[in-house]
């Protein structure tokens, strides 16, 4: 049949490409295990980078005060999975929707403090935040003609200043 009878069996080599996302997931799973936590890690990869979403119990430990622990882990995972890559991929970690909730909180805070700066006619200085969090605030107050925002100080203590326009 089809002139293939008696032919050699086909040899197909299958290699699973180890992506940045897979490496990141395995590392996060190992870290969870070592911390005595059980959680499920899902990975989304797109051209922007790799997003990992962790769901599980007692995840507060993994988030830490104002996301300190989550940010530390995100930084370390980013470094680890990009170590051998020529092109750096952005790695973002979220736990139980924490980042989304925090973004909303930051946006509300930004609007409130913008009003305060306007009302008092003085600068309002926020507490130190990561670049990711500062970005949310800058974006929330972008393009306003009554106030403007900038950052001052050195990492990791860089903070946002909301300033009234005169």
């Amino acid at each position: 049949m089809f002139g293939l009878v008696g032919g050699k069996p086909a040899v197909v080599k299958v290699t699973r490409k180890e992506t940045v996302g897979t490496r990141a997931r395995v590392l996060v799973e190992n870290v969870l295990g070592a911390m005595g936590l059980t959680g499920e890690v899902s990975v989304f990869e797109n051209e922007e980078g790799v997003q990992l979403e962790i769901r599980g119990e007692k995840m507060g430990v993994l988030i830490g005060r104002r996301g300190e622990t989550l940010n530390a882990l995100q930084y370390l995972v980013g470094l680890a999975v990009n170590r051998s890559e020529s092109e750096k991929r952005r790695v973002q970690l979220d736990v139980e929707g924490y980042r989304k909730k925090r973004e909303e909180t930051l946006r509300e805070l930004a609007l409130k403090l913008a009003e305060k700066a306007k009302r008092r006619g003085r600068n309002v200085v926020l507490e130190p935040m990561s670049s990711q969090e500062r970005r949310v605030i800058h974006m929330a107050l972008k393009g306003r003609n009554d106030i403007y925002t900038f950052s001052e100080g050195e990492e990791p203590f860089r903070k946002i200043v909301i300033s009234p326009r005169r």
Partner: protein, 75 residues
């Protein structure tokens, strides 16, 4: 805690086989001693200690509410 530091350090360095983590229990504290290959030291410390700070943060989280103070030393 030892395992956590080992996993993180091995993921960051070029020579994971050279990573060595020892726990030294003191009366009021636990010291985690991390050793890596000489050429990898920068990979676990980072500019201005940023990587070391992140590893310490993870250790702090893992140590949780244990009464003992946990210290990470990079040797």
């Amino acid at each position: 805690m030892k395992e956590l530091v080992e996993i993180l350090a091995k993921a960051l360095v070029d020579k994971p086989e050279a990573v060595d983590v020892q726990l030294v229990e003191k009366e009021n504290s636990i010291i985690i001693e991390l050793r890596v290959a000489a050429e990898d030291v920068g990979k676990v410390i980072g500019k201005q200690g940023r990587i070391a700070r992140a590893i310490r943060q993870m250790v702090k989280a893992a140590a949780g509410r244990s009464r003992k103070k946990v210290v990470l030393e990079i040797l």
